[in-house]
Assembly symmetry: C2
Homo-oligomer: 450 residues x 2
């Protein structure tokens, strides 16, 4: 059996939902369907979830006219889909009541905001189940409480409780096609609690792991993952298959396709994942697997990410001081600063940190605390760095990836501020000044993909 | 004024001491002369210091015949020099008595071993002062107590006490050429206490800093420092000038010319240092300065060092765990394991450690403690790595050092296990398997020096 998750743009209109229906019906193994809230129909449109946020804010301010405006908009949105789908069931009344009744929730509950947001997915799931059934595919809407998605009481950042998978696996025993709203679970006190934003991917991944699916299909509006950012590289090669590890490295290094955390349950359960296009379902998409079958190219993708800073520290005979590195990291940890990389020389080290962690006051405190506790000879922060990351599990079998990439940068006259290649060789990281980021990507890309 | 330090091979025989005399006399600025114990006259010879160790061991065992053998050998060695120098003074009697009277020292004192060892330098200084004076260069032997070299009570690992420089600077007020034995200082309780082995370089450096010398000349038996190990690279280029920082990186990375710690006092006092050859004093040698005047080559030297291990650790979403890196380093620190480098990926890190720190029981404990505290997905130790280090302060102005070096390794078919280039760009480090170490050096060297 397969889990298929459809994103907001795949469910934004009746026309899109019909496509989704065709996709689901075309493969009897597509039994577990995880759905998002209706997304944008065009770039000028608004997502239902964003309207739910406005609705909540109006409710907070007790702005009655604004509440009415938002309720009407949201209900009209569902009504529009309902009518275009040619539905005649009572479901629209139910959705209308549900949206209106959100203002019955207590404002002082930490879960109310989550309940507002979750209404987008929840009502869409009901609507879709109705449509599927009406069109000859017996379907059942399953609320997360009934699906067994029990989560921690962390509003906006729910975590699946251990033991939840035991419950989820019983979904296998239901006969119908199951339509499950994504993005939220239920606490043990039956409060709605959402995953972090974009969390429908998490629901799909959890269901896939829980029912031990043979495949987790993540339907979105692109043909899959490209080997580089199409905004920087013209017509980059699509990636047919990559490993979870490669995906994770690429996602972390700047690719924004799949919600990072979403991968974990499926990965741990060894369920392969495929990213497919709702609007082009014949396209094989990008498969994400535990172990790749295809071999060949040393680099599967090149990501880039900006907004990094470097904390530089040197001290003569630093290397003699036992615990020096640990002390530096402790100072950062105490100030809540997370580090990305720590390339070291003999008497110096650079610590790569996302610039957002180094606001002016924090940077000042970092400098002050390090000066006091370690008396470095030199200590300064340099900003505006970007990291270019080359990712590929087969790198270790290809001598010279670093050589070829650094030669390309050198030929393009781009200085490598830092470079780190770990022993895993799943990735190589080049740090360049942010002004050189695009140029660097354009210099390296053709070396591995043309 | 200049401080000139002469090593053991420069003072191994009367012929060598005559050369030293000529060198000292040829420049009236050479006022502070720091001397080692007589070294080897040929490769089959024994250093006086090594004989003093045997002498101490015989004394420990109360092996009277062995004591006699060692005393006789050591005294004969000084006598031989004394006679060949044509000396007629009472100094030989004094040296003979001093060597014999070492057995008056209490065996249970922690300073006795140091006193035995220091006798090599101490008696040589007296002999040399006598010879210099006898040949028309008024010289004075200055015991470290009189020179102001007051040190901590750490036998075999003495540290200069703060405030000692205040005393040492008064040496400037003495008129004669001062002959100071290297390698040891005096505690506040007037006990002889030696620096770590090779510590005559330290004495020279301390005197240079204390008297604020214009130059610290370190006379040895080579023309200076070569850009690579002559045993691996045929006729490597000699280095005319390098910075303290470059010297320190090269020393740490495998060059064995100057005692590491010796550089600190001179460096801190901004005294330039020159390494010169006693047997070829016209050769300009290698200058070590705070800031280099000469510019040009991006790489001044390439060092290599073996016996490294890599501790590899991966965990999916490791990067999300605040304090992960710090925790890893804490585990190592608690087990007394020092690390050299820590290149990181996103979900993995490699920690480069000198293999001697990872004996079987320690390695087992490292694995056990890391497993317990961090639950990594993968964790293992790989051995037999070497580090090739390219050093040069001007690297940062030369795009492509890494590119050229890694291309050379790639062409030679050598896999780069790890690579780290810090933001300082004083050095770039390549980790290769030890079996490839020489081949790697031979591949990289011609790129920068031919």
């Amino acid at each position: 059996m397969k889990v298929a998750k459809f994103g907001g743009s795949s469910l934004a209109s009746a026309a899109q939902i019909k496509r989704v229906f065709d996709i689901v019906r075309s493969d009897s193994k597509r039994k577990f369907i995880v759905v998002s809230a209706p997304g944008k129909r065009s770039s000028a449109d608004t997502k239902v979830t964003d309207r739910l946020i406005s609705y909540y804010q109006a409710y907070q301010k007790n702005n009655l006219s604004e509440i009415k405006i938002q309720q009407d908009w949201i209900i009209a949105r569902y009504q529009n889909i309902y009518e275009d789908l040619g539905l005649t069931s009572k479901i629209l009344e139910e959705i209308t009541a549900n949206i209106k009744n959100l203002t019955d929730l207590a404002l002082d509950s930490p879960f109310t905001y989550d309940a507002f947001l979750a209404a987008g997915e929840n009502n869409n799931a009901k609507l879709i189940a109705d449509y599927f059934t009406a069109n000859g595919l017996p379907s059942r809407y399953v609320h997360p409480a009934d699906a067994g998605i029990r989560v921690s009481s962390d509003p906006g950042n729910a975590r699946l409780l251990s033991g939840a998978y035991e419950q989820i696996k019983y979904l296998n025993e239901l006969d119908e096609t199951l339509i499950i709203p994504g993005f939220f679970g239920m606490t043990l006190d039956d409060e709605v609690c959402t995953f972090s934003r974009g969390g429908s991917d998490i629901t799909g991944s959890i269901i896939a792991a829980g029912v031990k699916a043979e495949l987790y299909e993540n339907f979105t509006d692109v043909n899959g993952i490209y080997s580089a950012h199409p905004g920087i590289i013209k017509n980059p090669t699509p990636i047919a298959e990559l490993t979870y590890r490669e995906m994770r490295e690429l996602a972390y290094a700047g690719f924004s396709v799949l919600h990072d955390e979403a991968l974990v349950p499926a990965y741990r359960a060894h369920v392969p994942l495929v990213i497919k296009n709702t609007n082009n379902p014949e396209h094989p998409g990008t498969r994400i697997v535990v172990q790749r079958q295809t071999k060949g190219k040393p680099v599967v993708g090149i990501a880039s990410s900006s907004e990094f800073s470097s904390l530089y520290l040197s001290k003569y005979l630093m290397n003699r001081e036992v615990g020096f590195g640990r002390k530096v990291l402790s100072v950062l940890e105490n100030l809540g600063v997370r580090f990305e990389h720590m390339p070291t020389g003999i008497d110096d080290m650079s610590i790569i940190i996302r610039s957002r962690y180094l606001t002016q006051p924090v940077a000042k405190a970092v400098i002050a605390n390090l000066t006091e506790s370690l008396h470095p000879d030199e200590l300064y922060i340099e900003r505006d760095f970007s990291i270019i990351t080359l990712v590929g599990e087969d790198m270790k079998e290809h001598v010279g990836v670093t050589a070829r990439a650094s030669a390309a940068l050198s030929e393009a006259g781009i200085s490598i501020a830092m470079l780190s290649q770990g022993s895993s060789e799943v990735s190589v990281m080049f740090v360049v000044k942010s002004k050189d980021e695009e140029k660097a990507l354009q210099a390296i890309y053709p070396v591995f993909f043309e």
